[in-house]
């Protein structure tokens, strides 16, 4: 019995030991979700290339967060790059630089977003660096991607766990000069610099990190001395003599002041940003520069005014896109000047959209029509994007309507019906600043009895009724004008094609503007019927709106 007990005891001890010992086994559990390394760990893997950069990242305490989860794009200079940079600034080791300098340097190399090379454009990256300045990308003549016109990307798009690494062969250096300092430094711009100083604009371009963030960035389009010379201005004195009309160039109403401020755009706009929009505001109040692209050339202020083509002035791409601490400096090859223009009559035919012009089998071909999907017309947008809310049509010479050029534009416009479309917006042609009466030429139909017209988002105050016919066929023009109507058809003045006034608008900038038609009350017609418009007139205030009249064959009869 005792024997058995002993055996049991020994067995129990053995069992216990086995359990305990077995329990001491290490369990290998995967605690990470991925084996991808993050940016700093990736750099640590190649000390032969990045040991110097790692050293800086560690010293400035940037490596912990750059190795944490997040979205980053890091430009990693190689050891050779850092050595070359040290030689450039006359140092032998990064230890000789203080932490703040190094920190700023590192921050210029990091963007808090994941940006791979297909997103690089001919200009600044869409997100700023952590230092606050933007990086400029481009491609060198050898076909290599370059950053800030300085560093070549030797190994792009290394995807790590928390973003992209782009290896570069030179250290990126923050721009230290302001726009004002950079333009002053360059002897090409001596006349321009003098004028900037005389007008006091120099100082406004010389502020970095303006506490008012709306004024933080500036874009200067400088004219070189030679460009000014070619424009007949030999010296600053000549420039002053030509424009300075009040005697004080610092006067905000002085023409020289306006001339100079017309060359400054608010915000930071590299060429790639400039080509992205058709016009840009300048620091001259309510004045814009317009942009046209001709092949590789970027032209400023090319426009047709009153049927006369004014040639644009090309930007000098090679000498533009110069980053500054508070903006960017461009050069233009000629003179851009503010012009005094007086408003003139604009007949904006809705159908003359560039996309419709190209439909040669449709455009002004009798009996043809074409409805458009949202997005097909660049300058026309509408609320219900699932609908083909606009329709171009052209009537034959035997049609009973009297459209100018026999073509009209149908809009689906209805309030309070989700299947219909509530509003349509058109981008107008270039309008010179001033005051205009807005007249809608339309073919009376069942829809659009309550249409509010807005210009640049401001309602004109008149609700237009596109179902209205002429109040009286026998009334005089003057009597009709008084009621907000007029005749415009040459072929049948008292027919269904008439004009209605949609109020007066103030065009504040010489630019293209937004005209919006919005239904504000339901007049209970079907979803598919449409408001039938011919064109819209911007009549400068003080001119007679009754003339000219418009014929079906396109003739304008004075």
């Amino acid at each position: 019995m005792k024997n058995i007990q002993q055996v049991v005891k020994i067995a129990a001890v053995w069992l216990l030991m086995m359990t305990v010992l077995a329990g001491c086994k290490k369990q290998y559990l995967t605690l990470t979700t991925t084996e991808d390394v993050n940016i700093v760990d990736y750099l640590r893997k190649y000390p032969d290339q990045f040991s110097e950069y790692i050293k800086i990242l560690d010293r400035t305490n940037i490596s912990p967060f750059l190795n944490a989860y997040g979205t980053y794009t890091a430009f990693a200079p190689t050891n050779d790059a850092i050595k070359a940079y040290l030689v450039e600034i006359g140092k032998t080791s990064t230890d000789q630089l203080d932490t703040t300098t190094l920190k700023n340097l590192c921050r210029l190399h990091i963007i808090q977003d994941t940006i791979s090379t297909p997103s690089f454009i001919d200009g600044k990256l869409y997100a700023p660096t952590m230092y606050g300045q933007f990086l400029v990308t481009g491609v060198s003549d050898e076909g290599v991607i370059i950053i800030n016109r300085r560093a070549k990307v030797t190994k792009p798009n290394v995807l790590t766990g928390n973003g992209y690494v782009h290896v570069i062969d030179k250290v990126l250096v923050p721009a230290t000069l302001t726009v004002a300092q950079l333009v002053e430094k360059n002897t090409r711009y001596s006349i321009f610099t003098q004028a900037l100083k005389a007008t006091g604009l120099y100082d406004s371009l010389n502020i970095t990190n303006n506490p008012d963030t709306t004024l933080k960035w500036r874009t200067l389009i400088a004219e070189s001395d030679s460009a000014l010379n070619a424009g007949g201005i030999a010296s600053y004195a000549a420039l002053k003599a030509k424009y300075n009309n009040t005697g004080n160039p610092k006067n905000l109403n002085d023409s020289l002041y306006l001339y100079m401020s017309y060359h400054i755009l608010p915000g930071i706009k590299y060429i790639a940003d400039i080509v992205g929009q058709q016009s840009h505001k300048t620091m001259a109040p309510l004045e814009v520069v317009t942009v046209t692209i001709d092949g590789q050339k970027v032209l400023l202020n090319e426009a047709v005014f009153n049927d006369i083509l004014e040639k644009g002035v090309p930007i000098n791409r090679g000498l533009s896109d110069n980053s500054c601490s508070n903006g960017v400096l461009h050069e233009i090859t000629g003179n851009i000047v503010l012009k005094i223009r007086s408003p003139y009559l604009v007949n904006f035919d809705f159908a003359v959209q560039p996309e419709i012009l190209k439909l040669t089998s449709i455009y002004r071909k009798a009996g043809k029509s074409q409805a458009f999907n949202y997005g097909q017309l660049a300058d026309v947008t509408w609320q219900n994007t699932t609908l083909q809310a606009v329709n171009y049509y052209c009537e034959g010479p035997t049609g009973t309507n009297n459209y100018w050029w026999d073509d009209g534009f149908g809009l689906n416009l209805r309030y309070g019906n989700s299947a219909a479309n509530n509003w349509v917006e058109f981008k107008t042609p270039l309008l010179v600043k001033g005051k205009y009466e807005v007249w809608f030429m339309y073919r009376r139909a069942n829809m659009g009895a309550y249409t509010q017209v807005s210009f640049d988002g401001v309602p004109t105050g008149v609700i237009v009724d596109f179902t209205q016919s002429l109040p009286s066929t026998s009334a005089t023009d003057a009597a009709l004008i008084a009621q907000g109507f007029k005749r415009y058809s040459f072929n049948n003045p008292n027919g269904n094609n008439i004009a209605q006034k949609a109020g007066t608008v103030t065009v504040t900038t010489t630019d293209r503007h937004i005209l919006r038609l919005q239904a504000v009350r339901d007049n209970g017609s079907g979803v598919t019927q449409s408001v039938t418009l011919d064109f819209v007139q911007f009549v400068p205030l003080g001119t007679d709106p009754t003339r000219p009249v418009f014929a079906r064959n396109g003739t304008i009869v004075p």
Binding site: S116, T117, P118, F120, I121, D122, G123, T137, G138, V139, S140, D141, E142, G143, V144, I145, N157, I271, A272, D273, V275, G276, I293, G295, Q296, V298, R317, E355, K358, L359, T360, S361, I362, Q370, Q376
Partner: protein, 498 residues
Amino acid sequence: MRKRITYLVSFLCAVVLLSSCKKYLDLQPQDGITRQEYWKTKENIQAALTGCYASLLGDPANKDKPLAEYLFMWGETRADMIAPGLGITNDELDVMNVNTLTTNSLAKWTAVYRTINYCNTVTDFAPGVLALDNTLTQAQLNAYLAEARALRALMYFYLVRSFRDVPLKLTSTSSDEDLQQLPKTSADTILNQIEKDLAFADSNVVFSHSNATYDKGQITKYTVKTIQADVYLWRDKYQLASDACDYVINSQKFGLIAGNDSWFNTMYYKGNSNETILEFQFDQQKLNSFYGMFTTSKARYYASPNVMDNVFTIDYINDFKDLRGEGASVRTNDNAIWKYLGITYNQIRPSDQSYAHWFVYRYADVLMMKAEALNQIGGRGAEALALVNQIRLRGKALAQTNTNPSPADQAGMADYILQERAREFAFEGKRWYDVLRNAKRNNFARFDLLTTMLTKSVAPNRLQSAINKYKDYNSLYFPIYFYELQVNPNLIQNPYYK
């Protein structure tokens, strides 16, 4: 009793054992035919060749895009005649904006190598049939081999123009032992091999397959001559190119389809016309992939506005029209690529009839290639001009597209021919290769052709980058797809994409 039991047992054993000679013990596959069993008669060779041609229409396993789609993308996405639609993929946009990375799926070359492998299978195993089939003559065998080798040459010609240096594989991959990790071969060596294959084909291939439809979809003597002309033109061997064209022209087997009302229907809707030299013959059983690419709400490609504005141009005054523009290449209502969609100028194919053929070569191409060659030879500009004008006359080209070059003005003539090619072969997958061939001539003397093309196709805020990327000529060729590099360590990436 015991004896009976013994008999019974042995009988049962016999039943069990003998019945076990079942086929499942046989190692030969039941549902297919092995190579050893297959290559026995000349009909087998013929069937295998048909397989080569069938592979042009699409991946037999249906996992890859059809070859014609790749050829369209390779020939058009980098050129200036297409615009992206709503369904465009990021990969395609990247190629358009000159941002091709090694991960870009347009750089997959499998569709081409698939056909090459089928051709290699024929060239490897067809000769063995000679000993087994007494009805097969050496001449007939050579004719079969000629077709396979010519088709292989055509495929390598696409590769060499798109990727430049690629692996050259001239034997089939029929078993695991055949798997090879080949390094790249230089473009020149490959082009030499192409010429060699074509020379063999030239002297052995049949003049006709005795069936009008087969003659348009399979290789004949005239197809070989046409491919030769194209290869010679690419290699700047102008006299040879012109001679090859002359052979096709003098055969009088082909002609231009008259530019009348039924022109579009005859040539593009029905296909196999008298003008065709080689087509990929899609049909009701094997549709092409163009319907989804060009016309649905997710269409990937539209004609660029540049096509009507500058290529065909619009006559606003007299309303004259280029036969090949509106209603043939482009439906101007929405800029749809009409060549592969239309039945007539305004009637669209239903989706289940999307079998417009893919045009590899047309007689018009032979005439235009000859014109280009003659112009480069020099002193024969007048003949070249006459050929171009023959094409223009049939196509009713508009007067404003006539630049009236002097026949002696070689550069002006080259431009004129290139412009006419854009009109004649719009969306036929030739534009990029045409521009590249002209640009690279005389060590990229006409690099400006590429930059001009970029101004029309690349977004303005990427234009300068794109132009500078092209200045590294390596960027004019696709990268090797990253997957190929992973599975084949012997491949070396195009230096531009490293």
